[in-house]
Amino acid sequence: MSRSTVVFEPLQTLTARALDLPGSNIDTDQIIPARFLKKERAAGYGQYLFFDKRFNAGSDDNDISPNEHPLNATEPPKILVVQDNFGCGSSREGAIYALVDYGIRVVVGTGFGDIFFNNSFKNGLLPIRLTPADHLALRKDLSPFGLITVDLVNQCVQASGHRASFDIDPFSKTCLLQGVDEVALTLGHEAEISAFEDSYSHRFPWLTPPKD
């Protein structure tokens, strides 16, 4: 992937403060309420992370006050330990922007929404799927904060004296280790894509858009 330019900070190993977040089926509407999705990315999405849970409602979104939510802690976590089916629902990548801009690099759970899972890698966020037993052991001493070590190179995660290995496909792993997404790689396959298109249009002529 030498042609690729770095699009996020590479992730290799990370020992950081982790937060145990309760609740299964946390949907992306909760991670970022829809009304913030029209914001430009440049200003950062971190402030919108779990907005309706972290801030008490006022007359509007400028009239709010932070509550006791652990994500408002003075020392913010970089790792989230979550329950099953985290990131289900809407495909909004704003949910990932909010996590990443807040400072989260790793989310550890037992399963994730499929679209959320895919979106994560493109933004340098590592979603780790563990068995329920490993997941339980890892979060044993989080109350709700604690230290967790993630080693992407050796594909293992460690906390409270418990060490668990995780699976990741080699392609996504390389992207995270190097801080790149796959756009440049794909553009490098231009010849194969063109060749595919030629044979495809012969096989399925009705799918070639008519020339005006």
Partner: protein, 464 residues
Amino acid sequence: MSLTLFDKIWSTHLVLPRDEGPSLLYIDKHIVHEGSFHAFNALRTRKLALRHPDRVFGVPDHYVPTHSRLAKEAASEEVGKMIVQFDRNMQWGQVPHFKLADERQGIVHVIGPEQGLTLPGTVVVCSDSHTSTHGALGAIAFGIGQSESMHVMATQTLWQSKPKAMRVRIDGPLSAGVSAKDLILAVICEIGAAGAVGHAIEYAGTTIESLDIEGRLTICNMSIEAGARFGSIAPDDVVFDYIYGRPQSPKGERWEQALAYWRTLKSDDNAHFDREVVLDGSKIKPMVTWGTSPDAGAPIDGVVPDPARLNDVAQRVSAKAALEYMAIEPGTRLKDIAVDRVFIGSCTNSRLSDLREAARVLRGRKVRVPGMVVPGSGLIKRAAEAEGLDRVFIAAGLQWRSAGCSMCAAMNGDAGQPGERIASTSNRNFVGRQGRGTRTHLMSPAMAAAAAVNGHLSDVREWP
């Protein structure tokens, strides 16, 4: 080797097959909307062009006002800017599109099939999780994020890992008052909100085959609510008759070629499915949800369950929090739950047959709660008005709006008030989905109409 419908479509789209990890998959059609601005911005930042603008199609739906067809009359200046920005992006990318004022404008998942943009055997993507809707025509269709959307525009491909195969088989005749919405809610409650994560669902069986196109679109639409990005149904004559003559469908000799191929698109008799779920269609009753996840639902003649009886700790915590948010006590009869508002619309239930079902219940009656009916496209709106459905809704006391996502996503300013309980034909009852602090109960169009008339959740089977 025996193949599934999904296998057959997948294999014809492999540009770079890989044994391990994702393969490079060719994309036939990419639908974009106002929310796609992140993808367009990313293209510009990276100095990339669209590889095939003619394989992209755009329509504004998420942010559009439904009381007007003008961007300047949007809920706020910031919302209106989304529509103007959409037009600019379409122009920048030379992308074929419908503008807001075009009568053919509508919800992405309504106009795809309506215009013949969605064809059997193709791969369709859109940065919206309900893209699985299009699978009802025998396509592989799935929701993607903004980064993937940018990747498709630049390369017409996506790196994707092949999902596992799940078949949901439903046989038997449907009872009176039971619709496709009840079927899919029953499926979601059966397998759970994470039940089909990592899988592509194929819906099959006599109940599914007996559904019209609109019912099939409703079924495939909510696949994601069971965790699946993909949901499809083998195309048959019902599908081919529906597609024939649509503006973007193949014509003449091309139609004949296409039809011959489309008839091969079904799972082989011995095809392998990693999981199979079987339901008896004749036993399914009208469904409503009581919680904040689409799998938290029950037949309308049931009661709200007691979280204390759940074995799994995480599930117990979630169910308890859901009932607290919804302000409902365990053991409450579902029919005793009062509602404050009704919404009939969304990519799940905004098509002509949905509107007819709602109007059948509302004809000659008055609603006790405010609400709106939002057709899925301008063409559906016109067809409904030609039948006089608009007059039925207005006479009942509901608002008759123009096409858009409206109160399903509540991004355009159409929303409930904090604390309000909403009978909704949409697809998600998530916390705050229809406005901060709103409480959503999902149900079919007929059930939502009945709830609006009675002022509480009601069993449409008992309708006079």
